[in-house]
Amino acid sequence: MSDLAAPNSIPGPRRRKRRFDAAHLALVAYVVLFVLFILAPLVVVVGSSFEPRELLRFPPQGLSLRWYYQALNSDLFVGAAWNSLIIAIFATLGALLLGVPAAYGLARFDFKGREAVSGLLNSPLLVPELVMGLALLQILAGLQIASSVLTLTLGHILICLPYVVRTINSAIVGVDRSVEEAAANLGAARWRIYLTILLPIIRPALYAAILFSFLMSFDNAVLSLFLVSARTSTLPISVYNYVQYSLDPAIAAVSTLLMAVSVVALFTVSRLVPLDRIKQ
């Protein structure tokens, strides 16, 4: 039927109209520029880390790994990096152990004040990190406890917790209750439902929570500023202290490495979960 020509003129092939394309192209161009604008500072940092001479500048005068070599051989930075890594790992573990059950309780049980608790945890900026740092400093001073890796880790847990609870909570809310009921109906006790049904289903959220928690802790500067001692300095604090007296390409190299950790962590997790499902 489609092959019969209609009596009143069938037009020939027509160019696909670009009715929306002007607006479309403009917006796409805008988005690209926008991303470049956001990325520009990073390009500057990464670029100038390859500078061979003593002066921090962009574009670099050559390409050298001299400052990377120097940074990786600096006891100051390497020691701080180990501290950061250990604190980030234990802070993440702690935040998961405390946060996942809390997220479950918030998602699955009705109790008075649930709305308030939920709202509180959904507003992480309610407590400025600076204030949190001050409070912890004051508590440590009051209890006469010396700053240590342990106190830093406890402080970081406090910072990471709301993010873990939020991520896991919204994942659990998204799991149909009837799936848990189906497991109970088939004979599973409560703890088996958690282990065999709930946790496997929310695995993407668990990965996201681990990623965010790790990076929140690893990159944290504000809280650490109040809690570090000379012995327990973390990488961001070492960078900050270094900048106080010298602005050479070593700092760009360390910054680039700091970002590399984020990229590697993000990339690892994105192999396990699609990137756009990683929501805070």
């Binding site: 149909d176 009837s178 799936v179 009921e181 189906a182 497991a183 109970a184 109906n185 088939l186 004979g187 599973a188 006790a189 088996r192 065999t196 049904i197 496997p200 289903i201 695995r203």
Partner: protein, 370 residues
Amino acid sequence: MSLEQTSSRTAAAEPASVSVEGLRIGYGALEVVKGLDLRVAQGEIITLLGPSGCGKTTTLRAIAGFVSPSHGAIRLHGRDVTDIAPNKRNIGLVFQGYALFPHMSVFDNVAYGLRMRKVPAPEIRERVERALKLVKLERFAERRPRELSGGQQQRVAIARAVVIEPAVLLLDEPLSNLDAKLRHEMRVELRRLLKEMGIASIFVTHDQEEAIVLSDRVVLMNEGRIEQEGTPQTMYNRPGSLFAAAFLGQANFLRGTVASLGADGTAIIDIDGDRFQAQACGGLKAGAPATLVVKCERLRLDRSGRSQAQCTFEAANFLGPSVQLQCSFKGQRLVGLLPASTEGGAMLEPGAPVTLSWGEADGLIFPRAD
């Protein structure tokens, strides 16, 4: 109200697969189920039918153990399970949305209940394969639920529920997520499957057609109570109340007053001067308001029935297998469904006079409140 209540009570001698006695369930001050008795025999399929909010799903959830009744008892094969946790009840449940485990293969979904019962692995394999064969999904064992169609997912849910050999199978609107064509096919298929397995089953649905096709016995619920129960034929042809008559099938409701009562269980209703003899239902009193109920498909476009109404033709709509005839009678609407082969009313002009008739046994007279 139940026509079959007596018979199901006297059957108490043989132990029912499930029995529910005096069930009352409340959420806070709101009582959702207001006293309900139910017995399901081995291999019997019953349907809890009713509008949303009538308590049918709450009843099902109470049997499964997810809702605690405030009064009453639930027994499986005579054993009181009212206080038993849901994971210890041995009841099969097919959820409305199927509630398959998205992270497991079809095989693992079906095997889950057996693994929880610590059945040895070779036996699990054998029983799961048998269950998948029963629902014709043996070739899909390694798929994930999201890779299956709606109908296939539903069959996985059934296989998962029956593989544990439950005392009773509960199904919560299992067809409501399927599209119209598949839903019609699955009704018949599902009934055949359940009969083959011989498991006592309780369906919950708000779709009267589904209830009629699927069940041995329909339990019509209304506001937390049983309105009527009986075979699909009884429920359809002999509704016990206006509510039941309106809920099952399409019917005409003609308002009038009782003219007189016959000794043979019939009555005569007066509708604006015209009188019709029909079956008397409920407590009719001469002179009291009453409603004459006639199913749409029982109306005939000729004078072959004893009851005849002189109507005004309004419109005829072709529905495929049948033609819908819209007429008015004494200012009230009368709708007939005629087989399309009769070409009924095709040549009528709107406003033309037309006679519709029906058999005496097709009419039911109910008392009316206002």
